[in-house]
């Protein structure tokens, strides 16, 4: 399954880059993510709760590995998720393009879904993936604006700190 698209953040590219590496930000951006901690350079581990159509929501373990990192331009994200109802694994290529005062993110993920969730949720998988991506990016934008606002007010934990 291919999930691809673009999203524009109203923040400079360096800020977006930094936030995208921050598990505390990512956990908010992933719908259903319950926990995400950094376990090494560009490596994260966590738990996510997802349901797809007739597949009731369940907890999935989540491993994320960022590689080929070219700050602040691009990176590759490898995702590995497992649960009682199946697995999801795949690679996403993320590019950040500088646009005056804003950043355009281009992403293309090739995801493989297996097990029960693939067997019974197939008709809905595309929709669910697109919906989760949209929700995630919107959440990311909000978080970014929030942090930028806090950063502007000189609060601790500001972006880029």
């Amino acid at each position: 399954m291919i999930v691809d698209g673009e999203h524009t953040f109203s923040a400079p590219r360096e800020t977006v880059w930094t936030l995208l590496q921050d598990p505390e930000v990512l956990v908010k951006a992933m719908p259903g993510a319950k926990r995400l901690v950094a376990t090494g350079d560009g490596a994260y581990e966590g738990v996510i709760r997802i349901g797809v159509g007739p597949v009731t929501a369940a907890e999935w373990s989540l491993q994320v590995l960022l590689s080929d990192r070219v700050p602040p331009e691009s990176y590759t994200m490898q995702v590995d998720s497992k649960g009682a109802l199946g697995f999801t694994r795949g690679n996403a290529k993320v590019e950040l393009l500088d646009e005056t005062g804003a950043t355009r993110m281009r992403y293309r993920a090739d995801l493989q879904v297996g097990g029960k969730v693939a067997g019974v949720g197939q008709r809905l998988l595309d929709q669910v993936a697109k919906m989760m991506t949209k929700q995630g990016l919107e959440a990311l934008s909000r978080e970014m604006e929030h942090r930028l606002a806090r950063g502007a007010a000189g609060e601790p934990g500001a972006a880029g700190a």
Binding site: E59, G83, G86, G119, Q122
Partner: protein
């Protein structure tokens, strides 16, 4: 006039139990202290299994045991080869049978990895999530041609190849036939996978009685005796210590044959090990992944004909998807190869197939068992040839039928039962003429024209088939007249709704001249009868029915003997009527069978040396070869080219299964078979993606035809008696579904004849038909046909 039952409309005597909820199914077995099972299954189509961590599951309250391959010790071993390959010269067969729990490799989605035994199914299911399966995915093998590439990943490394089998069978000289042919048609055909979709999924329950040293297994198997024998061997028990009961089963259709499925092998083992009854019932989800399926095949086929439409020869080379394992040998592809010849005189046949391992669920026979593939290829070739030659679809079949003088007809290749493919008998042309009459062939062009004026597109199809049925090795039966005068019949095969209880009762009632309601049949319990094979290949009525007949005849002889002695007349003076033995011409000098049964089992006095007590006999029947059933299907469909939806308007089956035991049962089999065939033709398809993931594993996405989609079949019977058994019987269990795809394809093409759509694949679907319409040589809006 004595009682006539064979051939009569006797109502099914099992139905009162089935319809009032008194029939026992495996899931109805509830025993004190019973434990319940759930299986951790592979999510991957192909992977290295690095490890299984079950510690969290073991710690969960209510979980009694968790077993992985490692925990099985010596009990872990690959399953048996169920059907060895026939002794065909040059046959290549590479064996890889399923394992109870995956050890080093995962080979298809749904393959069992660990077994959880718990106090309830709920707990067992919850514990599934506790088990961590460490798997390293490998490139899956899903494409049949790709599987044979030298650089394709190998599913069974010990074999070094994904080739499961290679078989070549030939008779006549095809090259010479081709050289002198006026017309040669060659095409590629695809036939894809479907599920058997029995209403009852698989289930196994087992109880170990340590005091009696007896293991009882309730199993939805079609073959309880081979299962008992096999499990006894695996568990180190005597066969007599193991009782397998296949109670009422909600549909078999092939996948419930003696598979020695992992679940079937593990549940009894766990019951012994834990000393408590254990039960597992498959859910519909599991069924889609773990129960064996129908098969994909890709055929490259060619037919050579003379200008008058006579077949000179056929060449067919195909790939057969056997799935992850091949325990059932070559039965399915051999059936395809043999059944392709149909009712036709084919002087030269050059046939080859390769069976291929793929990372999909294992393929074993499902109703039709590969026969429909052969029929589809042959019937389509004839359709294309008829078009090329400007012949009528019925006429090209008519001129190629084997005729009465041709029987027995030897095709000079080997069939699935290791015997030469010899048709014992047949009479094809009258069946065709009857089908044409019933479908309204003659008047159809006019019907089509009128419909078209109303904006409706109708099409007609007519196809023929033969079905090798009733193969050996043997079945047996025991018939007993009890002192009550009631008659008990026991046979070893399992029953999945066919009506065995009625058919066998009819045969015995007629032989003994008793009321059929006084004959009680029991099947599928190894304690009742423990010699036999099982229910498959449309053989139950033919082989077990013949055994019932033989046993009843033997009991009849005993009745005559005892009656003659008691009545003081020679046996020739005794006649049997309505459950009594009487002196001929003196009905007042008679005794009921019950009294004779008592006299045959005296408490005092001697049983005459050389005789046996009681009125009981056991007999066996083993035909040298199967008997060849045949028939014609004709169909009218309506196709809406805008939605690509097709509707079955009329469906005709003229079937010849030899002597009919009971038209009610035969018609039920045919109607059900047609429903199966219609599903296979237009609704049901298992969609696998290229990574081996099944994408429609629920009845929301896998479409079964409903009562609205399946017309009431218009039927006619022909009876060409089989010479191979005393009652002249042939099988009928699979006939309804075998030629359905071919008939449907021909009719859809006819409905779209002005667009030039050619159908070379089954299953179709509205989706796929829509694509074919878009690719049609004549676009829909450009067609100027009226």
């Amino acid at each position: 006039m004595s009682r006539r039952y064979v051939g009569e409309w006797v109502p099914r005597n099992e139905d009162s139990r089935l319809l009032t909820g008194h029939a026992v199914f495996v899931d109805d077995v509830r025993l004190e202290g019973m434990l319940h099972v759930a299986f951790v299954r592979s999510d991957h189509a192909h992977a290295v299994l690095r490890g299984v961590d079950a510690s969290a599951a073991r710690a969960r309250p209510g979980v009694v045991a968790v077993y992985t391959a490692e925990d099985l010790g010596d009990y872990w071993r690959p399953g048996p080869l169920l059907v060895p390959p026939p002794p065909i010269e040059g046959v290549v067969f590479n064996l890889a049978t399923q394992v109870p729990l995956a050890k080093d490799r995962l080979r298809h989605v749904g393959e069992p990895v660990a077994m959880i035994v718990a106090e309830s199914r709920y707990i067992a299911e919850d514990a599934l999530a506790d088990v961590v399966v460490d798997a390293e995915p490998l490139e899956p093998v899903t494409d049949l041609e790709r599987a044979l590439d030298p650089d394709a990943p190998v599913i069974h490394p010990q074999l070094g190849t994904n080739l499961a089998a290679h078989v070549v069978q030939r008779h006549g000289d095809y090259e010479a036939a081709r050289a002198r042919a006026d017309v040669v048609i060659s095409r590629r055909f695809h036939y894809d996978r479907g599920a058997s979709a029995a209403i009852e999924n698989r289930a196994v329950a087992a109880r170990w009685d340590g005091q009696a040293g007896e293991l009882t297994i309730w199993d939805t198997t079609q073959a309880p005796i081979p299962i008992r024998n096999g499990l006894a061997g695996m568990l180190g028990l005597m066969q007599s210590q193991v009782r397998v009961v296949a109670p009422f089963v909600g549909g078999g259709f092939g996948p419930k044959i003696m598979m020695f499925y992992p679940e079937e092998v593990l549940v009894p083992w766990a019951a012994i090990r834990l000393g408590r009854p254990v039960k597992w019932t498959e859910d519909r989800q599991e069924n889609f992944f773990a129960t064996t399926q129908e098969r994909s095949q890709v055929h490259d086929a060619e037919i050579a004909l003379s200008r008058d439409g006579r077949i000179l020869g056929v060449r067919d080379s195909f790939l057969h998807d056997t799935g992850a394992y091949d325990p059932y040998g070559l039965t399915v592809p051999i059936n395809s190869q043999c059944t392709l010849l149909g009712p036709y005189d084919v002087p030269a046949y050059d046939a080859e197939f390769r069976a291929v391992f793929t990372n999909r669920t294992t393929v074993t026979p499902v109703r039709g068992a590969g026969r429909q593939h052969g029929v589809f290829v042959m019937e389509r070739l004839l359709d294309f040839a008829a078009r090329e030659l400007g012949m009528d679809a019925a006429e090209i079949r008519r001129v190629n039928y084997l005729v009465q003088d041709d029987f027995p007809h030897d095709h000079k290749i080997l069939f699935q039962d290791f015997q030469p493919l010899v048709y014992d008998s047949g009479n094809y042309r009258p069946a065709l003429e009857k089908a044409l009459e019933l479908i309204g062939w003659e008047g159809f062009p006019e019907e089509k024209r009128r419909a078209r004026e109303e904006g409706r597109r109708l099409g007609v199809g007519v196809v023929s088939y033969v079905e090798g049925t009733g193969i050996g090795p043997y079945e047996g039966a025991r018939v007993t007249i009890e002192p009550s005068g009631r008659v008990r019949v026991a046979t070893g095969l399992g029953t999945q709704g066919q009506g065995h209880y009625t058919a066998f009762a009819q045969i015995v009632a007629e032989a003994l001249d008793v009321d059929v309601a006084r004959v009680a049949v029991v099947t599928g319990d190894t304690r009742e009868f423990n010699w036999g094979t099982g229910t498959f290949a449309s053989r139950g009525a033919v082989v077990a029915g013949s055994a019932c007949h033989a046993a009843a005849q033997a009991v009849r002889a005993k009745v005559l003997g005892v009656a003659a002695r008691v009545l003081g007349v020679p046996e020739s003076e005794v006649e049997l009527r309505d459950g009594r033995a009487a002196v001929r011409g003196q009905p007042e000098r008679s005794l009921p069978y019950g009294e004779l049964a008592l006299m045959a089992n005296p408490l005092r006095g001697g049983v005459t040396p050389g005789t046996e007590p009681g009125l009981e006999a056991t007999a066996y029947f083993g035909p040298d070869r199967g008997s060849t059933a045949s028939g014609v299907h004709a169909v009218v469909v309506e196709v809406d080219p805008e939605t690509a939806m097709a509707r079955f308007v009329r469906y005709v089956v003229v079937h010849d299964c030899g002597k009919l035991i009971n038209p009610v049962l035969v018609e039920g089999q045919v109607q059900g078979g047609v429903a199966h065939g219609i599903g296979n033709a237009f609704f049901e398809k298992l969609h696998y993606d290229e990574s081996g993931q099944l994408q429609n594993a629920s009845f929301a996405d896998y479409l079964l035809p409903t009562a609205l989609d399946v017309p009431e079949v218009i039927m006619a019977h022909r009876e060409t008696p089989a010479p191979m058994n005393p009652l002249g019987l042939k099988g009928v269990g699979e006939a309804g579904c075998i030629p359905t795809g071919a008939a449907f394809a021909q009719a859809v093409e006819d409905a779209l004849s002005d667009l030039g759509v050619e159908i070379r694949e089954i299953p179709l679907s509205p989706n796929r038909l829509f694509e074919l319409l878009r690719e049609a040589p004549v676009p829909l809006n450009a067609s100027t046909a009226p």
